[in-house]
Assembly symmetry: C2
Homo-oligomer: 455 residues x 2
């Protein structure tokens, strides 16, 4: 059947459907090492009705429809590996409603997390989930993104209150209510969060938001080894210190950060911590954290009291991966993402360090260690077979270990293309249930085909 | 087809399959006003294999299989309205594994919440979700139960880490990993939590557990009206005071509690609050809470400093519904359970009070007001048509209001039989997706038929 693109252009308006080579090529890739693949067309949706028309069109011709936001995914999620339509949602970037008294905000999927927080600041509110990139909320919901504040606030699954979703069959559904809790019906919101565009397209997202804490204080705790840093984290959590952030930055990473960002951190494994609350409770927490850290062998514990210094510290942490990328121009970025029960974290990081040394990996370890999640960020030459093989070997070893101790192959980046091979090993017979749900909701396999449950 | 019960008795052992009239009749009802219905047989499962054999048997003869725990459901969930098998899981009451360093525990479905907490106490750990009844963990997971600590720790959906589930087709699946977060595959755990035995039978449950706080302090704040009590709660949450519990007890309820439990609470709308943490942070929180409460018109704010007094206060709150039941012997208990966005709570409670007066309802208001959830507990004579009609009228008005402001018909009790009629109004087109998932996972409709998505 000839695809009648003119019909779609007439429905949406000519400027919303692009066949331009450079537009298609920016929609052919994400920020990962995965090979690009061009979509046949890029559709810029500006409304629910645009999404519905595009879905109708994709269904009619059985062509893929792949949602696209900031393009910052790390496992090839947005690459239209089977062509079809890249559905760009960045023009749907309105903040539709904020309800300060209910701690809720309703956004379109193309709103980015920084734009949202800029908007919320005058209300004394913020949205905590912070992946490294300034991703769109739609993309963050689709991958169940999380970040440095997850140890305190949870990731997207915990912070998406409700969704408006356009299904493959054209139906528009609304999941969950706006009540803080509910035992009514099946929990569809959580089913769609993390479904990576394979079950439906999000057209509206209600998020939980929070009061900006009265005060924040950061601290940098330096260690002679990653092991003692991680042990400190286990102790901190055990004693119930309320951590808002708890990040490990490896020595290699601090070298890169200092070089690229002009900072002067001691180049040794360091925990970046954050405490939030009232001034009196924070001081007590920082003091307790310092005592525990020193007991576990911390070399130096520096509480950062000045707000500007605190911001600098977190800017450095957030830009770490980008600093790494800039250090190796021409190479592609790859990141492991295992997450393990916290007691297994020291062993997992030991293993990572051993393989980094053995395979002479370019990169370092960054960890949301309070959640048992860490990344080996590495720069690979995708055209160099041996290089890529080494990187994948490292990833295999880490995933194998994580699964052997009840962990997961991906704590926050998602499956996309890169983690499909581990789904059977991780989920066993539950994978078949996932595939049945996929077939139920998308019988023509038009929604981001070839990803997540597809191998 | 003649049902060959002997086959099942041979598989499981004769003592596990009962046709005894009194055994069947204790499995014919729950703690609600819904009419009992006898199962054809009661099966006492003692192992995964017992569940599997029973499922195979039910599938073979297309007969219903209805999971049964403590029998404390409030909407008829466990009533086998179409006969078949009541699958009693209370003999599966082993605590299989506790991992203090990972803050996880693995239990069989028949473990009760109090038995679990007795077991965890020596580890310095506890499981926070506390519905009024000493329910089984399996039942609590199946209804997405919550309770007085949900404002701080979340309900079952937030605290079930992973599940082993026996599906209608006989497959055993394991949902989620033991990692604190994951973006791997679809989130099946949340789909099964709250599914009320309609999608599968839980055979093993991993729960998140927490360190027992260093210190707890309770407070009773008395008000002249429910309205000013609720406004206080909204202010407390707005300012970010960390509440571990935040319960409203109405004047009618305090009269009943005093009479039945021999306590001497002032008979006026009262907030029961709890604060947890380190001694210094608690004192600051209590002080702030008192200031806010007095600003909002609190008549008397009494911090309860002695541990025994604190326990007494929460025992009174937890036994409130039972005290009500004992006050009206011979009558049945019914409870509304709407949950609304917190800003709508004063209006919702006003409406409830107005209809309680107008319809001369026996009972009172109890609320997990920090979550926007409250109950009108009422005693009805199910054989008195007018009495039942009044109760249902009250419930209708409250649900209508809740849905009109984006709330839910049930915050924590679940749908069962009593809230089926509201599912279409609440979920709209999403209900069809729920029904399709039900048909996918249970094509023969043997799992708790006639409940939740069935109308």
């Amino acid at each position: 059947m000839n695809i009648d693109w003119v019909w779609l252009q007439n429905q949406l308006g000519r400027d919303k459907v692009s066949f331009n080579e450079s537009v298609r090529s920016t929609h052919a890739q994400d920020e990962s090492y995965h090979s690009p693949h061009l979509p046949d067309a890029v559709v810029f949706a500006e409304s629910l009705s645009d999404i519905c028309h595009t879905m109708e069109f994709a269904r009619q011709y059985s062509i893929p429809i792949v949602a696209f936001g900031a393009g910052s995914s790390l496992e090839g999620h947005v690459i239209p590996i089977k062509g079809g339509i890249s559905l760009d949602l960045t023009r749907m970037n309105r903040i539709l409603e904020v309800r300060p008294d209910d701690f809720l905000v309703c956004v379109e999927p193309g709103v980015t997390r920084q734009a949202l927080n800029d908007y919320l600041r005058p209300f004394g509110l913020f949205f905590p989930v912070d992946p490294g990139a300034d991703a769109t909320i739609g993309g963050m919901a689709a991958t169940n993104a999380s970040g440095t504040t997850t140890v305190r606030y949870g990731g997207m699954k915990n912070n998406v209150q409700a969704l408006e979703v356009v299904l493959a069959n054209g139906q528009i559904i609304h999941t969950n209510s706006l009540a803080a809790k509910s035992s009514s019906g099946y929990h569809l919101t959580e089913l769609f969060v993390g479904s990576e565009g394979t079950l439906g397209i999000f057209s509206k997202i209600w998020l939980r938001i929070y009061g900006i804490p009265e005060q924040n204080m950061a601290a940098a705790a330096e260690f002679s080894s990653v092991q003692s840093a991680v042990k400190t984290v286990c102790s901190l959590i055990g004693t119930g210190v309320l951590l808002t952030r708890c990040e490990l930055v490896s020595q290699q990473y601090l070298e890169i950060i200092n070089r690229q960002l002009g900072t002067a951190y001691t180049e040794t494994p360091t925990l970046f911590l954050e405490f939030s609350g009232t001034s009196s409770s924070i001081l007590a927490d920082v003091k307790l954290a310092e005592t525990i850290a020193l007991e576990e062998g911390c070399l130096k514990f520096t509480a950062v009291r000045i707000e500007e210094e605190r911001r600098k510290l977190w800017t450095a942490r957030h830009n770490a991966a980008y600093a790494l990328m800039r250090s190796y121009p021409g190479l592609s970025h790859m990141s492991t993402d295992v997450c393990v029960p916290i007691s297994k974290l020291p062993e997992a990081i030991s293993l990572a360090e051993e393989w980094i040394r053995r395979l002479q990996i370019r990169g370092g370890i960054l960890g949301h260690v309070g959640d048992g999640n860490f990344h080996v960020s590495l720069m690979v030459n995708p055209n160099d077979k041996e290089d890529l093989q080494h990187a994948q070997e490292l990833s295999h070893h880490l995933v194998d270990f994580a699964l052997s101790v009840g962990g997961t192959c991906t704590g926050e980046h998602g499956v996309g293309l890169g983690k499909r091979a581990y789904q059977k090993a991780e989920h066993g017979t539950a994978l078949e249930v996932m595939r049945e749900i996929k077939r139920l909701l998308d019988p023509l396999d038009i929604l981001n085909p070839g990803k997540l449950v597809d191998d």
